[in-house]
Amino acid sequence: MAAVAPGSGASREEEGTGGDAATPQPPAPTSAPGACLSRLPLARVKALVKADPDVTLAGQEAIFILARAVELFVETIAKDAYCCAQQGKRKTLQRRDLDNAIEAADEFAFLEGQQR
């Protein structure tokens, strides 16, 4: 008999119904240990990590920390972009707000040239 953690099961259902992604998303693994602490599916993060040809192996902790770091990154860049939108007295974040936020911060320099 397979034991399914009720918490992680509920969060996966929410993922499926929310959002309007063009491509059908594969079912996220419910066995992810950090499911309670990280919303991003660790399997996807791991796939990105393995895309690097120089990387041999990555520990589970490393994948989890990366997933959490990505969440923080998304929050940070969204907030910075929102500041730009506020200056334009808009309530909808546009692409140009994001570009401005990237140019304004040194740590986002690695993103320049990626958007176009």
Binding site: M1, E15, G16, G18, G19, D20, A21, Q25, A28, P33, G34, L37, R39, L40, P41, R44, V45, L48, V49, A51, D52, D54, V55, T56, L57, A58, G59, E61, A62, F64, I65, L66, R68, A69, V70, E71, L72, F73, V74, E75, I77, A78, K79, A81, Y82, A85, K91, T92, L93, Q94, R95, D97, L98, I102, D106, E107, F110, L111, Q114, Q115
Partner: protein
């Protein structure tokens, strides 16, 4: 079909949720901006992986570990992430420890059950077939209740 690393996007639903929770109520985000953030997140992972891998190679290790990622954050000028990440790591380790103990306990219970099953089987071989089936069904019912 080879996929470029940039094509490996993180789920849009999750990205959208994180963005919305970071912003005040009533603020929206255009589809273009959202997909741009999603792509930026993928690039972030690739860049962080590359930095972390450098630290792992410096330590002559082939496996990326948590400290490599934390060092990469500092190098990428995301020092402000380090403290919350360390806290998250500790919480994660505690959870892992709890789960390990739980699974070990389950394993012990399982071993006890298999022992009792073997004893029943040797008894059934001596009895009639009908009686065997009845006993097995009862035993299965007991098992289900325990599970």
């Amino acid at each position: 079909m080879a996929e470029r690393p940039e094509d490996l996007n993180l789920p849009n639903a999750v990205i959208t949720r994180i963005i919305k929770e970071a912003l005040p109520d009533g603020v929206n985000i255009s589809k273009e901006a959202r997909s741009a953030i999603s792509r930026a997140a993928s690039v972030f992972v690739l860049y962080a992986t590359s930095c972390a891998n450098n630290f792992a190679m410096k330590g002559k290790r082939k496996t990326l570990n948590a400290s490599d990622v934390l060092s990469a954050m500092e190098e990428m000028e995301f020092q402000r992430f380090v403290t919350p990440l360390k806290e998250a790591l500790e919480a994660y380790r505690r959870e892992q420890k709890g789960k390990k103990e739980a699974s070990e306990q389950k394993k012990k219970d399982k071993d006890k059950k298999t022992d009792s099953e073997e004893q029943d089987k040797s008894r059934d071989e001596d009895n009639d077939e009908d009686e065997e089936r009845l006993e097995e069904e009862e035993h299965n019912e007991e098992e289900e209740v325990d599970n």
